[in-house]
């Protein structure tokens, strides 16, 4: 890179002596070349690993492709099958939506509650914050999914704890009605990173607002409802969008806890898990590409919808 930059300078400097046409190119290079040299790795990555593959995957989604023979054009057949004749797709959709709808609100509620408790000048803030954040950092690993699988097993720790209160817990993981809750609890347990963003947001609320409110005799709950919550809506919005997109993309916990099957009876068949099974289990690469594009569409629609509705409840200071 150093050599490249020096060349650019040399070309620029030497250009003055040359005919005008060449000089113009040299000066354009001198002016813009450095930017593109620095951008080069990213540009290669963008075309080679993002844009190119995205176009290829759109093409593949209209083909039947098993990795061995050349892709065979099938028109919209993949999409038609997804929409009309694929019960596993329907199951994956249902499970994924259920997971999003259950895990995100609980997670955000915990994050906000704890952030508010911590924001009130609690002693030992950094210790608490670290403890609550730790699971967010560890949570994506296989070790935690393995641990969870044990905690919620029929003879696992959760049921042992429940037994001490005389409650007989079900076999959470192998029962289709409960298995999803195991994953929801795992997700909620990782409320640390939205909590930190909430904490940062709470710090931005100007003090004088509360002072004015307490002079007017507003009660704490009212202060929260009238001041904290509205001023925090941009952060709530941000967290909600990020966490929801994240939940749509969840993979590892469902894979490990169900042993890669999405069972029992597809009750933990996350969308990404189904995509993985189709692509790398059944080698239906064309079909999986179509699934991928549908996921993109869903996430895009969700994001657009969030931004459209946000004007009615998110307050930006003005």
């Amino acid at each position: 890179m150093a050599a490249v930059q020096d060349t650019a300078v040399v070309v620029g400097a030497g250009a003055k002596a040359r005919p005008a046409a060449q000089g113009r190119w040299a000066s354009i290079w001198a002016k813009h070349g450095a930017g593109y040299m620095f951008l080069l790795p990213w540009l290669i990555g963008f075309f080679g690993l993002t844009l190119g593959p995205a176009i290829a995957s759109l093409y593949l989604s209209f083909t039947s492709f098993d990795l061995i023979r050349a892709p065979e054009w099938v028109g919209a057949a993949n999409y038609v099958r997804i929409a009309t004749a694929d019960p596993k797709f329907a199951a994956a959709m249902r499970v994924t939506f259920l997971y999003v709808v259950l895990s995100v609100p609980f997670k955000l509620a915990f994050a906000l509650l704890v952030a508010i408790l911590l924001d009130r000048g609690v002693r030992g803030l950094t210790v608490y914050r670290a403890i609550f954040y730790l699971p967010s950092l560890l949570g994506g690993s296989v070790a935690i999914a393995v641990l969870w699988r044990q905690l919620f097993a029929g003879d696992g720790l959760i049921n042992s704890l429940l037994a001490q209160f005389g409650i007989e817990g079900p076999s959470w993981i192998s029962h289709p009605n409960y298995s999803i809750w195991t994953l929801v609890v795992l997700s909620v347990w990782q409320f640390g990173s939205p909590m930190i963003i909430f904490l940062a947001g709470l710090r931005q609320i100007p003090t004088d607002m509360y002072e004015a409110a307490s002079l007017d005799g507003a009660l704490k709950f009212r202060q929260f409802y009238k001041i904290t919550l509205p001023l925090l809506t941009p952060v709530i919005f941000f967290n909600a969008v990020v966490q929801t997109i994240d939940a749509f993309k969840a993979f590892t916990p469902a894979f490990i806890i169900s042993g890669g099957t999405g069972g029992p009876i597809n009750s933990t068949l996350f969308y990404t898990l189904y995509l993985y099974q189709e692509a790398f289990g059944n080698f239906r690469m064309g079909y999986a590409s179509a699934l991928a594009w549908i996921l993109v569409l869903i996430i895009a629609l969700f994001t657009a919808f969030s931004f459209l509705t946000s004007r009615y409840w998110v307050h930006y200071d003005d």
Partner: protein
Amino acid sequence: MTDATMNLVTAPPSAPLGRRGPLGSVLVHAGLIAASIAMLYPLLWMISASVRPEDEIFASTSLWPSSIDFASYLRGWFGLDVSFGRFFWNSLVVAVLTVIGNVVACSLAAYAFARLRFAGRNFWFATMLGTLMIPYHVTLIPQYVLFLNLGWVNTFLPLVVPKFLASDAFFIFLMVQFFRGIPRELDEAAMMDGCGAWRIYWKIMLPLSLPVLATAAIFSFIWTWDDFFGPLIYLNDMNTYTIQLGLRTFVDSSSTSDWGGLFAMSTLSLVPVFFFFLFFQRLLIEGIATTGMKR
């Protein structure tokens, strides 16, 4: 990313929602302590299970083992055809290369976006931000086909090479934010002294940006260490397995027989992440608070 989350950590702390009396304070601490215990209990239980005698693992919900026994660690370590030492080494290689790739490639791009003027800069910057929103699933299959045709499956190249091409746009964004805050006068003075863009990047930008480079490096390391999906797709030969794949294989091969070994290896696999967390907590938390990074 919304602007709202951008400059939050630097803002002055807000006053609490009114002062609390001593009773309120005790209640809040009681609540927080109870919640902390609930949060940590599964982790502590796992660590305790890893040093418990085999027959005692599920017998007790207590965190205190009756006697400490490291046999599980030995059994776990050598429990597969390939030892866990190999998996740790593989993870370490992949993670270190990823860190280098991310820091080098992302800081180059971020410097161009933040400090250099060139035609099309705004267009490319918007494009880069756009890639943040694309789920990796869209590029997954063609990328796999590409790497398969290059003969890179069962090597670390598919996991590492993209990082040298700045594929984690998150870090570019993070660095751009930081670079913009460095006074322009420094560049101008350096330029007067005859420094080119490269020298300014190397001699001024990078040394002044150590906090953000460290943040990116630490997150890179942790995310790579925890990554399961990438290795699952690209590594099929047990000799190339990372720690996450090794652990999963161990689950499959011994799920009913050797819980002690499983918990021992699980605990070990978390150690590097925990270590980084312990030493760089402040950087990690600021990284989250300023950009909302999350994985």
